[in-house]
């Protein structure tokens, strides 16, 4: 089911996947936070498949388009802070809780969506766990990578070409971003150790020390042995598909829910107590 929700002046687009299977309707809910920019388009099909498969395992799943991206209202160049997208996630959490009846949700964020989800999760007792799929841990490195690809693209253009890059905005790989937003992204660093919820991290090819967590029992890291292609200009318009690791994530999400259920952590009351105790 696809629908717009949120403020009528700036509605957000979402796709809801109803649960199927034996766990259907028993309070398991997942909010999928996609990447931004061209990565959003590249991963759309992959995230649709993952959402379908998780729903088939009995969870309510909601896919979200942030303000200025995809089918949601607005233009990305008018987004002046990551808080806009973080608030979109907060709104989507409330929306998902309302339509599913679940008290808590799992956040599954990919790339910059993982960064946003990780930041939001830290202060929400109604987030029971997070899945971070190749998350952006360092905003400056992320932008450096995108800018390098953009420069390479222009360098190989049929003629000499420049794009907007001034005090007001900068174009990167087909999206025009406001300077204030980019400045904020540059300063972003996601420390997974600050996220108090159980977490599944899918990382591509490296065991980054930034992934370490003070409570190792709360964290599972899965390595995707395929080479990362986020920085490869030749694949800028290729669909990003990872069938093997996608299946693994679906399986692990189900296992995480089983465990959360065993510890009674799908309920808000018990979660508040645990998050409070961890702070």
């Amino acid at each position: 089911m696809q629908q717009y929700f949120g403020h009528p002046e700036s509605p957000l687009f979402s796709v809801y996947h109803a649960p199927r299977g034996k766990h259907g309707g028993d309070g398991r809910a997942v909010l999928i936070c996609p990447p931004i920019g061209q990565e959003y388009i590249r991963t759309h099909w992959c995230l649709r498949l993952v959402a379908n498969q998780i729903a088939r395992g009995g969870a309510h799943v909601l896919r979200l388009d942030y303000h200025g991206i995809g089918d949601s209202s607005g233009r990305v160049e008018h987004v002046d802070s990551v808080r806009v997208w973080q608030n979109n996630i907060r709104e989507a959490i409330e929306h998902l809780k309302k339509i599913s009846g679940a008290e808590t949700v799992m956040l599954l964020g990919q790339r910059f969506g993982g960064t946003l989800a990780g930041e939001v999760a830290q202060k929400r007792p109604d987030v029971n766990s997070v899945v971070l799929w190749e998350p952006v841990l360092d905003g400056l490195s992320y932008l450096k990578q995108l800018r390098a690809m953009h420069a390479e693209m222009l360098d190989l253009w049929v003629c000499k070409m420049t794009t907007q890059n001034d005090d007001v905005s900068e174009e990167i790989l087909g999206s025009l971003y406001s300077r204030v937003l980019l400045n904020e992204v540059e300063g972003l660093q996601l420390n997974v150790g600050d996220i108090p919820q159980p977490q599944l991290i899918v990382s591509c090819g490296c065991t980054d020390s930034a992934l370490s967590h003070p409570e190792p029992s709360l964290q599972k890291v899965v390595l995707d042995d395929r080479e990362s292609s986020w920085d490869d200009l030749r694949e800028l318009e290729s669909a990003w598909l990872r069938p093997q690791v996608s299946r693994k994530i679906v399986k692990l999400v189900r296992e995480m829910f089983d465990r959360l259920e065993r510890f009674d952590a799908l309920k808000t009351e018990s979660r508040s107590a645990k998050v409070g105790a961890g702070q």
Binding site: D71, V158, G174, S229
Partner: protein, 284 residues
């Protein structure tokens, strides 16, 4: 403007996003634009091109449905034995019937990029409700002029050699990359192909039917080089009326840069406005 979700087709398996203008700018009795998928990119279009076109048109008073064909984006698959049917024709027909029932408008302008333009061609030929079409990097045939301009012309362009060298040597090819796999995908999206004679016959038929047409081509599309190739291919002379042709020499096939997208949107919007300003399409 307003955007709304539309579900239609068998058991509502098809999804489209209808963008409608504010009442104070709405052009009465105007046709609705129907934008088809480009390749496997979902309804937002490459680099959100379809959204930009829909919003440009809404600002001028026109409605647009951005459609996911069955099995693409968030539309479900079309079930049943339909091997001999073109999926896009069936899906577009379902979309037009739905819009006709919901809005009372029975005239449509079909828009597509790349495989979307191929599908738009097939739909326009088959469905009499189509009164206009925008083909972006659609069906083309190489001509003698193409070989002269493209192959011979680039020999004398230093930037071509510089870029070819950089592409070849800057990054080694990676085994099992998606980019390599995509080379196989073309035939998946273009049916069995149409002969030049067939296309000429189709275009003549559309002209006779009074269908308004805009052909947009980019330099990034490998098989065309220059606006003059249109006449070389089809023997039809573009004008500023029913048959318009535009060539973007600085643009990539998918309008990657905002400047290119803006130019494409403005061209499509101004064409739409000039051809469908009144209650009836303007005669050429």
């Amino acid at each position: 403007m307003k955007q709304q979700v539309c579900n239609f087709g068998n058991e509502g398996h098809l999804l489209g996003i209808l963008t409608t203008p504010d009442d104070d700018v709405r052009v009465p009795d105007a046709p609705i634009a129907l934008i088809l998928n480009a390749g496997i990119v979902h309804r937002v279009g490459p680099f959100r091109l379809n959204v930009d076109i829909a919003r440009h048109l809404a600002e001028l008073g026109y409605s647009t449905l951005r459609l996911d064909l069955s099995g693409l984006g968030d539309s479900g698959p079309r079930t049943g034995k339909l091997e001999l049917e073109n999926r896009a024709e069936l899906d577009a027909a379902d979309a037009m019937t739905f819009l006709q029932q919901e809005t009372g408008v029975g005239r449509f302008v079909i828009v597509g990029l790349c495989s979307g333009a191929y599908n738009a061609h097939c739909v326009a030929v088959k469905d009499q409700r189509v009164i206009g079409a925008v083909f972006m990097d659609g069906i083309v045939f190489r001509t003698v002029g193409y070989f002269l301009r493209h192959h011979v012309g680039r020999v004398f362009r230093p930037r071509f050699w510089r870029n070819a060298f950089k592409r070849r040597f800057n990054r080694p090819a990676r085994a099992g990359s998606e980019a390599g796999g995509n080379a196989l995908a073309e035939s998946e999206f273009f049916g069995d192909g149409l002969s030049k004679d067939q296309v000429i016959n189709d275009l003549t038929g559309l002209m006779d039917r009074g269908v308004q047409m805009l052909f947009l081509y980019t330099d990034g599309y490998d098989d065309i080089c220059g606006r003059s190739q249109f006449r070389e291919m089809y023997g039809l002379r573009p004008d500023n009326g029913q048959l318009q042709v535009e060539y973007f020499p600085k643009s990539e096939h998918t309008f990657r840069l905002t400047e290119n997208r803006r130019a494409a949107c403005e061209r499509v919007s101004s064409w739409f406005q000039s051809r469908f300003e009144a209650t009836e399409p303007v005669a050429s």
